[in-house]
C-alpha cells in the first residue's frame, strides 16, 4: 500500500483551498510522510480538531492506503 505525495497534497488542497502544504517522504517508500499544513481554517481550533480536518480531507485513506503521516498544522 502506498500513496503518491501529489495525491495527498491534492486531497488536502481540495478540502482546505488556502493551505500551504509541505510534504516530505520520510523513508522514500511513499508510505511514511510528514506534512506541514498552514491555513487560516485552523484558527481558534484545538490541535485535535485541526488534525481531524486534515484526516477528513484524506477521505479514509489514512490508516489504509496511507500507513503513516505525521501532521503539523499551523495557523496563518
Amino acid at each position: 500500500m502506498s500513496l503518491k505525495s501529489e495525491v495527498i497534497e491534492n486531497l488536502i488542497k481540495e478540502a482546505i483551498p488556502d493551505a500551504e502544504i509541505v510534504i516530505n517522504d520520510l523513508a522514500g517508500d511513499e508510505n511514511h510522510y510528514s506534512a506541514t499544513i498552514k491555513s487560516k481554517i485552523f484558527k481558534g481550533k484545538s490541535k485535535i480538531e485541526q488534525h481531524k480536518i486534515v484526516y477528513k480531507s484524506l477521505k479514509g485513506k489514512m490508516g489504509n492506503e496511507l500507513h503513516a503521516l505525521s501532521i503539523n498544522t499551523m495557523e496563518i
Binding site: I48, K52, G63
Partner: protein
C-alpha cells in the same frame, strides 16, 4: 460500531486515568509512533494502562470509531481524548502534557 466493543472501550477508559491504545507493548512496541508516546509517558514516570490493539482487532477498529480518529496510538487522560503521536510529542515539548497531568492530579516526574 458493536455495542459490546464500545462498552469494553468505555470501561477501559473509565477505569484507567491514563490509558494508551498502542501497537505492541511499552516493552516491545510494534510501531515507531506507539514507541514515541510510550517513551514519553515512561520518561515522565506516569503510571499508565497500555492496550495492545494488535491483540484485538475489534478494539483496533473500535477505538478509531470511538475517538473519530483514524490512527494508533491514542491517549486518554481521565476519559478525555488527548490525541495521537504528533499532538502528544508537541504537548510534551511545550510542557502542556505535564500541565494536563497536573490538572488531573496524576503524578509524574517533574
Amino acid at each position: 460500531m458493536n455495542e459490546n466493543i464500545k462498552k469494553e472501550i468505555g470501561e477501559l477508559i473509565d477505569k484507567n486515568d491514563v490509558c494508551l491504545f498502542m501497537k505492541g507493548t511499552p516493552d516491545v512496541p510494534q510501531c515507531g509512533f506507539s514507541l514515541a508516546v510510550s517513551n514519553i509517558l515512561k520518561h515522565l514516570g506516569v503510571n499508565f494502562k497500555s492496550i495492545n490493539v494488535l491483540e484485538n482487532n475489534e478494539i483496533r477498529d473500535g477505538i478509531k470509531k470511538y475517538s473519530d480518529w483514524p490512527t494508533i496510538p491514542q491517549l486518554y487522560i481521565k476519559r478525555e481524548f488527548i490525541g495521537g503521536c504528533d499532538i502528544i510529542k508537541e504537548m510534551f515539548e511545550k510542557k502542556e502534557l505535564q500541565i494536563k497531568l497536573s490538572e488531573n492530579n496524576i503524578s509524574y516526574n517533574k
